[in-house]
Subunit: 91 residues, 2 copies
């Protein structure tokens, strides 16, 4: 499943640990607090458990399934930071 | 079109103006730097032009079309801040 993970995490340490976890799950960073990648369904469940342990109640994390065709129609304004992974409309 | 807009904007003033613009386009905030909403195709073009004027080259904004069914399958960990707009798995 293609997945977008976006998050508001206040604590610097927790935010760094979360980013490292997402990288370990093979996701790539598209913004400071946004990752995207292919994660199979079982591992999504593991990821959810892991995130729940890592963040505070006042933080918020969204895991959004993506349709690859929708992802290709995304519009990127500015610099995806060289992490541009394939077709997109960069303006 | 259901649209997710996420952004990394460094300048506080620009970030506030962008958030206000997204609200004017009828989008609702789901995180500090993430909005979601229904925007018709013509207004998406206007929104892209507006965002391009408002942000710096070093900033990044993603506009991602969403499939409503995918959006309903999102997982929200933590507090969507009372802005929970309909079905989601909140864990």
């Amino acid at each position: 499943m293609m997945l977008l993970v976006i998050y508001d995490v206040s604590d610097n340490g927790k935010r760094t640990r979360l980013a490292n976890s997402l990288k370990r799950y093979g996701m790539s960073r598209i913004q400071r607090s946004a990752f995207k990648g292919e994660v199979d369904s079982q591992r999504v469940k593991d990821l959810i458990r892991l995130i729940r342990r890592e963040v505070d109640q006042t933080d918020v994390v969204h895991l959004v399934p993506l349709d690859p065709r929708n992802w290709e129609m995304r519009v990127v304004i500015g610099d995806e930071g060289g992490r541009n992974d394939g077709p997109a409309t960069v303006v």
